[in-house]
């Protein structure tokens, strides 16, 4: 591997690590706000205990997300100085706004976590609400900046020089809305299903636990509402990509030849040399239907673009199919949950459903990782689509294998420690075994 590959690997690793904690930082506050609102309304102690236990887990994950996010803000410059020099003035604004949103989130998270005995009940709930809103706002701003790399607007190039910069237009680029909606829903979807899965595991062991039943109900509701909306937003985003980044779209769908009534290829192994897909499942006309909502529409294949502008078709296609496949599994679970809930007028808790929910615990997060692989690898070889190549943005710093190795080791270690700590935290602080964190002791 050369230095460019190591820089890309380090950036990818940092993003893949951070996104898990960023998503939890968006999703968990929403669950906590719902639970605390139920506590304020019903005064049932189970909701207070639930809010506090969720907060305890969130605190440690938020702390890791904060440091891994700091790492990213530096890595933009440490690894891609030419990109930042070029793009900073155009797309820095949403990053600055994100800074403020994160600041607000950090301040009110401090109040939420440590202020139980220090602020009035309603103020405490409002602090949680501010955390949830500002966490989501952070995601909106950061994804706007990423969307600009896919759909760079808000400036003109004259003789290779950037002029007529319009930071607002850059921030509100055509990819921004579909990407933002898709990411925010993904955060709620993944967190909802992951949390529901954990509590389903406890419910399978003790179906009388009111604590886990309430927790499962809240998390499942959030995940199940997000699932169908996510399918719609995925369609919106895919059509935007088809229109603005046809080469990425062709790679996602492993479509080598331009054709009318293009088939949708599920799975398979794309082979650039022969420009065919082996062992894929083809659904005639379906791709044209998806891309243009017309089964006879012409979809442009990879053959229309120079070879050196192709992304890694194999990785992008399989990651895309993985994401969509997982999304549909979660959608099916949401439908199952809705059907059970309607029929029984209660939180669905049949053994089979709970087992399926346990199995689905990590799926939302896997789908998010796969989705970012599609977005980022699908944009290659460009760092700014059609404007700047990734190879031209990288730092001249030699020996990038060293920081890559060090950060890989650090992130693996952190992951291992977190798994151990969280696992023990879940098991040891099961309700009843230990008093809830005292807010009025």
């Amino acid at each position: 591997m050369d230095d460019l590959a190591f820089a890309r690997a380090q950036m990818g690793l940092s993003l893949a690590f951070h996104i898990v904690f960023a998503v939890i930082g968006i999703g968990m506050p929403l669950l906590m706000v719902i639970s605390e609102a139920l506590w304020l309304r019903t005064r049932a102690p189970v909701y207070l205990e639930l809010t506090q236990r969720w907060a305890r887990g969130t605190a440690i994950l938020f702390a890791v997300g904060a440091v891994s996010g700091t790492v990213l803000s530096f890595e933009l410059g440490l690894l891609w100085p030419r990109f930042m020099e070029y793009a900073g003035g155009i797309i820095g604004l949403p990053f600055s706004l994100e800074g403020f949103a994160f600041f607000t989130e950090a301040i009110f998270l401090g109040i939420h976590l440590y202020g139980w005995a220090r602020v009035p009940a309603l103020a405490h709930w409002v602090a949680g609400l501010v955390v949830a809103v500002s966490g989501t706002a952070s995601a909106v701003f950061v994804v706007c900046a990423n969307a600009w790399m896919n759909a760079p607007t808000g400036f003109r190039l004259v003789d290779g020089r950037v002029t007529d910069v319009d930071p607002i237009a850059a921030m509100l680029n055509p990819a921004a809305l579909p990407q933002v909606v898709h990411m925010v829903l993904a955060a709620y979807l993944a967190t909802g299903f992951a949390v529901a899965g954990v509590h389903a595991w406890f419910l399978l062991r003790d179906r009388t636990s009111v604590f886990h039943r309430r927790a499962f109900g809240i998390a499942l509701a959030v995940g199940a509402v997000a699932a169908p909306l996510q399918a719609l937003s995925g369609d919106l985003l895919a059509r935007m990509v088809a229109a603005r980044q046809p080469v990425k779209f062709a790679a996602m769908e492993a479509l080598y030849r331009t054709q009318a009534g293009a088939p949708l290829t599920l799975g398979g192994l794309p082979d650039d040399a022969t420009m065919t897909v082996r062992w894929g499942l083809e659904i005639p006309g379906a791709l044209s239907l998806l891309a243009a909502h017309d089964p006879t529409a012409v979809v442009r294949g990879l053959e229309e673009f120079p070879r050196d502008e192709w992304p890694d078709v194999l990785a992008v296609h399989l990651a895309f199919d993985l994401m969509v496949g997982l999304g549909f599994i979660l959608l099916a679970l949401a439908a199952w949950a809705g059907w059970l809930a309607l029929r029984r007028r209660a939180v669905p808790d049949t053994r089979g459903f709970l087992r399926a929910m346990v199995a689905a615990t990590p799926l939302g997060f896997v789908a998010i990782e796969a989705g970012w692989v599609v977005t980022e690898m699908g944009r290659q070889p460009w760092i700014i689509y059609g404007v700047m190549r990734t190879a031209d943005a990288v730092t001249p710093m030699p020996g990038l294998a060293v920081p890559f190795a060090v950060f890989t080791a650090v992130y693996l270690l952190l992951t291992a420690i977190l798994v151990v700590l969280l696992r023990r935290g879940f098991l040891e602080t099961a309700p009843g075994r230990r008093p809830a964190p005292a807010h009025d002791a």
Binding site: A59, I60, F62, A63, V64, A66, V67, S68, G69, T70, V71, S73, F74, E75, L76, L78, P81, M84, E85, A87, G88, G89, I90, G92, L93, F95, S96, G99, F100, F102, F103, T104, A106, I107, F108, L109, G110, I111, Y114, G115, W116, A117, R118, V119, P120, V162, V165, D166, P167, T395, P396, P398, V410, L414, I417, L418, G425, H439, D440, A441
Partner: protein, 340 residues
């Protein structure tokens, strides 16, 4: 005609750095005192440090992020050149930030066993000691005049400026200042526990006395190690600031000696602010001495204008929020049990 946003935005960077030093810097210092917690009250010392830091930990951190985003939004070439030339020390800073942030969170979450606790404390402490050293060395390198650019491209490689006596002295200076600041804050935070307060008073006095020779040493090293900054700091117009900072430093020590802890805290804040403002004024108009000024590095005019507005609006939200945070956790404690 609109006013020139360049000095204003450079000032924002300086103010954010000052606030980072005053808040996050004290957290670094807290980690150092955690590392060397000794005596019969070692455990209580660690707990007091943790109680003081925990609620404001995440918020304190964001000042550094603000410095980074304002720098790359308003002055992209300065950001690119800084991150290129200082790749090595800044990567070490990042590793330190990750290590201490994770260790701090894990320690709180892990089993409350003393041995386990100490292991996390060690990582937290060592990272808290080393991170400000490389941060200080990086700022020193920007001031040294040894990082050279031609046509916006760094020509002096990756070892210019920072592995030099002056920059390393700046690193040591940052460590000493943060250790002093943290100990002074902790004398106020431990009000009501006289033994503990006395521990931190002794530490604050020791660190405060240690700051003086380091400060003088750095100034002497600047003579050859950072001549532009040295000339500015020894010019006549710098005299009032130098005198005020030195008086604040002496006053803080005197206040500690007489156990006027709140006064000592205020004077320590003035001292640290004076040091950073002195450096900032000496460095301006340069982002990187001597080849890149903030003016030359400025981004598009419209971006600077929008950023100024965004910062103003952001401050409108942040200042009251931050004041509320400090009031909740650093003000007088309400009677326990007042909440639901």
């Amino acid at each position: 005609m609109t006013p020139d946003p360049v000095p204003l935005l450079a000032l924002v960077i300086l103010v954010a750095l000052v606030l980072y030093a005053l808040s996050g810097g004290a957290d670094f210092g807290g980690g150092m005192w955690d590392l060397v917690a000794t005596g019969p009250r070692a455990r209580r010392q660690r707990e007091a440090i943790e109680e003081a830091i925990a609620p404001i930990w995440e918020a304190n951190h964001v000042w550094l992020i603000l410095v980074v985003v304002v720098l790359f939004t308003a002055f992209p070439p300065a950001f690119a050149a800084t991150m290129t030339a200082l790749h090595v020390p800044l990567t070490l800073v990042l590793l330190g930030i990750v290590a201490r942030g994770a260790a701090f969170a894990f320690r709180k979450y892990d089993v409350p066993d003393d041995r386990v606790h100490r292991r996390w404390s060690t990582i937290f402490g060592v990272a808290s000691l080393l991170t400000p050293f490389f941060l200080g060395a990086s700022l020193g390198a920007l001031a040294s005049g040894e990082i050279r650019l031609a046509g916006g491209v760094v020509t002096t490689g990756f070892l210019a400026g920072w592995p030099r006596p002056f920059a390393l002295g700046c690193g040591l200076f940052a460590q000493a200042l943060f250790a002093f600041l943290a100990a002074v804050y902790l004398t106020v935070d431990t009000q009501g526990e006289p033994d503990l307060q006395e521990d931190f008073r002794r530490r604050a006095l020791g660190a405060g006395l240690g700051v003086a020779p380091v400060a003088v040493g750095v100034l002497l090293l600047a003579r050859t190690g950072a001549p532009v900054v040295f000339a500015a700091l020894t010019s006549r117009r710098a005299v009032p600031l130098l005198v005020a900072t030195a008086l604040a430093a002496a006053g803080a020590l005197a206040a500690l000696w007489r156990r006027r802890f709140r006064l000592a805290r205020a004077l320590a804040v003035v001292e640290v602010t004076g040091v950073l403002v002195g450096w900032g004024l000496a460095q301006y108009p340069y982002a990187i001495i001597p080849d890149l000024t903030f003016h030359a590095a400025r981004g598009p005019a419209v971006t600077l204008r929008l950023l100024t507005w965004a910062l103003a609006l952001g401050a409108l939200v942040l200042v009251p929020s931050f004041a509320y945070l400090l009031r909740v956790f650093k003000g007088a404690r309400p009677p326990r049990g007042a909440a639901p």
